[in-house]
């Protein structure tokens, strides 16, 4: 059952990240996702500190807001201060992360948070906190939160697909036809923040970034059809979660690390295969 709990939890993170990550990849905004995943630290700490627990709704909202704060900061730097965008991202998230670490070191004796946990996560221990569902069937508490977020995200993507799609692929056309580009931007960023915050505790910031960038990138190499890309990205994420978990178990190493490594491996295989196919096609057409 432990195997199932861990793979189930990781797969939920994978699906959430694949949904958001596919849009980020097409919008060239993956590093903003990276920034958010680091920048939520002060928000999460303040939430821990004020309430003393993790699993409550106001805390999720608070932490997600600190993700939004990071995007606002990046936007202010690029638009108002005219700083180049890569530097704006770098400055914002390192500052927020540094503030988070300072807060944790200063006041966090009871907060059970440290830099390692932030980066690695603790997916190995999800089965320590089980929540009975029906009869003897129970699920890890974290996966319940992830499941709720997953349903919200699927709902949001289905409901807002048109707006998200048009602002992602043709922002100028969207702007000229009166689509609220800014609204969809923050709509997506809220989703990314929410995903990062709920995923971070179980898998750590690094695996969140791997899930946000890897499966969508692999899917994009395989298909140009965006709807297919979303589905393929989710499937790849789930596959990497399961494969990574069993490899980690076999080698007795970190699960989050192993899943990231498998994502890298799958990427390399798909990258090599697609370039071979492409170069063959080039030869034939030449």
């Amino acid at each position: 059952m432990n195997d199932f709990y861990i793979i189930f939890t990781a797969s939920l993170v994978a699906i959430n990240c694949a949904l958001m990550g596919s849009f980020l990849v097409m919008r060239k905004m993956v590093m903003i996702g990276d920034a958010i995943s680091h920048a939520v630290l002060p928000g999460i700490f303040i939430a821990y500190y004020l309430s003393g627990s993790t699993a409550s709704l106001p805390i999720l909202i608070g932490a997600a807001l600190s993700g939004i704060l990071a995007t606002l900061m990046i936007e202010w730097f690029t638009k108002k201060a005219r700083l180049q965008s890569d530097a704006a991202i770098g400055i914002s998230y390192t500052l927020l992360f540094a503030i988070g670490i300072i807060l944790i070191s200063k006041f966090g004796a009871n907060a059970d948070l440290d830099q390692q946990c932030v980066l690695y996560g603790e997916i190995e221990y999800v089965s320590l906190w089980l929540q009975p569902i029906i009869g003897s069937f129970s699920l890890p508490k974290q996966s319940i939160t992830l499941l709720i977020v997953c349903i919200i995200l699927i709902g949001a993507v289905v409901w807002g697909y048109k707006g998200l799609f048009i602002t992602t692929f043709d922002p100028n056309f969207a702007l000229s036809t009166g689509v609220a580009v800014t609204f969809w931007h923050y709509f997506l960023m809220s989703g990314v923040s929410l995903t990062t915050v709920v995923s971070f505790e179980s898998v750590g910031a690094i695996l969140v970034i791997a899930f946000l960038s890897g499966p969508p990138a692999i899917a994009y190499l395989l298909t140009e059809d965006f709807k297919k890309m979303l589905v393929v990205a989710c499937a790849i994420g789930i596959f990497c979660s399961a494969a990574g978990y069993y490899i980690a178990k076999w080698l007795d190493v970190s699960v989050a690390g192993a899943i990231s490594s498998v994502i890298g491996l799958v990427f390399i295989i798909v990258f090599v295969l697609t370039s071979v196919v492409k170069s063959k096609a080039d030869v034939i057409s030449a």
Binding site: V30, T94, V253, G257
Partner: protein, 429 residues
């Protein structure tokens, strides 16, 4: 606050040896990173520092697995090799696929770090006694810096300064215009690889002090701050180095003034304060400087518009011009017009006598100048762009405030000293 001052006093009296060593070491390291980071920043590759710092982890772990000892030399060699590999992968995938840089950066850093964690946990679970604290190496251990580290950082700082001094022109050229540099006969791929090597070495060594996440800040933040103070690369390098050095020292002093205060994050906070200050208050490019410039431009435009309208009203034969005439002509509200008129009176451009407005000689000259520029531009547009006469006014309305006396002279010459504009109004010389 008193606590901090005491610490500064102790710091300079060299009584507290540890504090002295850590502060000096951090200062030198941040200096070295700030200098080399200037080019990373200028080449718009600020986030590559983030990738390198995450990517050194597998190298360090493999170095430990192969040698079985916690030797900084092996660690640094391993770190440099895996850092270089990560840069090469980023460049290769970017050249060979349709994926965008941001995706490749995020994927590379997370996969390298993931592999690193796998290796690290493998080492930990293998029960090797020497492994304890291997990961603290990667999360920063500035507080346990020794004199050996200070020497190492100094060597790196000196190497960076010498190399940048030697290749200043080449590095500057590849930061702005690679093709131009190629045309001048510079060896682009060598320069790029060399710059990458300097960056990787600096990051590989700096990671031990501030940790993987914050290392990126040591490269980018000083350069970003310096960029708002100057347009010259040598000056920017000096500012970035200085910001780094001061932040390193101040950050350490602050972190030593309280218990359980981490060093790396405080350095980053101080660096960010430096950068934010220059982003806000930078003399030319700073946020406030640009706001001020915009405001003074607006004042100029408003003044000129009102002046012009007074002149036009007089030209059309209005004998007595009052504020309400202007409010009607301008789209400005009454209070705004009043403010502008008071400003104009202060500048001796107009006189206001019992609600009536009279242009002074100086004001007449100013008004004619604006109108002249406006009408010259209308002729220029209709003559050289064959624009319809009905369409030239709006464009001229904006440009009349921008044309300099030199451009005006050129226009007059080019248009052969015209007498009337396309609407048959006389041009006032």
């Amino acid at each position: 606050m008193i606590n901090i001052w005491e610490h500064i006093a102790t710091f300079f009296s060299v009584e507290n040896y540890t504090l002295f060593v850590v502060a000096l070491g951090s200062g030198i390291l941040c200096f070295a990173a700030g200098v080399v980071g200037t080019f990373t920043y200028l080449r718009k590759r600020a986030l590559i520092g983030d990738v390198i710092s995450h990517s050194v982890l597998p190298g360090v772990a493999i170095a430990f697995m192969l040698t079985g000892v916690k030797s900084p030399v092996y660690f640094i060699i391993g770190a440099i090799l895996s850092g270089l590999l990560s840069i090469w992968i980023v460049d290769y995938v970017q050249a060979k696929s349709k994926l965008k840089p941001d995706t490749i950066l995020a994927l590379t850093l997370s996969v390298f770090f993931g592999v690193g964690i796998v290796l690290l946990t493998k080492i930990q679970h293998s029960g090797n006694a020497a492994q304890s604290g291997l990961d603290s190496f990667l999360f920063g251990k500035a507080a346990s810096m020794g004199i050996w580290d200070v020497q190492l950082f100094s060597i790196i700082a000196i190497i960076n300064v010498i190399c940048i001094a030697l290749f200043l022109r080449g590095f500057s050229l590849i930061s702005f215009d690679e093709n131009y540099a190629k045309g001048l006969g510079f060896n682009i791929s060598f320069l790029k690889a060399f710059l990458a090597l300097l960056t990787v070495v600096t990051v590989a060594i700096g990671v031990q002090a501030v940790g993987v996440v914050l290392m990126a800040a040591l490269l980018i933040t000083p350069a970003a701050g310096a960029r708002f103070l100057t347009n010259s690369i040598p000056k920017m390098l000096s500012f970035a180095g200085l910001f780094g050095f001061l932040s390193g020292i101040i950050g350490v002093v602050i972190s030593y003034s309280g218990t359980g205060m981490p060093t790396g994050p405080w350095i980053v906070v101080v660096l960010s304060i430096f950068a934010l200050t220059s982003i806000l208050f930078g003399k030319k490019r700073g946020v406030f400087a640009r706001m001020k410039l915009r405001k003074s431009n607006n004042v100029k435009i408003n003044n000129e518009n009102v002046l012009k309208d007074i002149y036009k009203l007089a030209e059309d034969g209005t004998k007595t011009i009052s504020i309400s005439d202007l409010v009607e002509k301008e789209k400005y509200p009454l209070n705004k017009v009043k403010g502008i008129l008071n400003r104009l009176e202060k500048d001796d451009m107009i006189d206001q006598i019992r609600g009536l407005i009279i242009l002074s000689d100086q004001g007449r000259i100013g008004a004619r100048e604006v109108i002249r520029k406006h009408r010259l531009w209308e002729i220029y547009l209709s003559k050289y762009f064959q624009l319809d006469v009905d369409h030239v006014h709006d464009d001229a309305e904006g440009i009349e405030h921008v044309i300099t006396p030199e451009i005006e002279k050129h226009l007059i010459k080019l248009l052969e000293h015209p007498e009337t504009d396309p609407h048959q109004s006389k041009i006032p010389y």
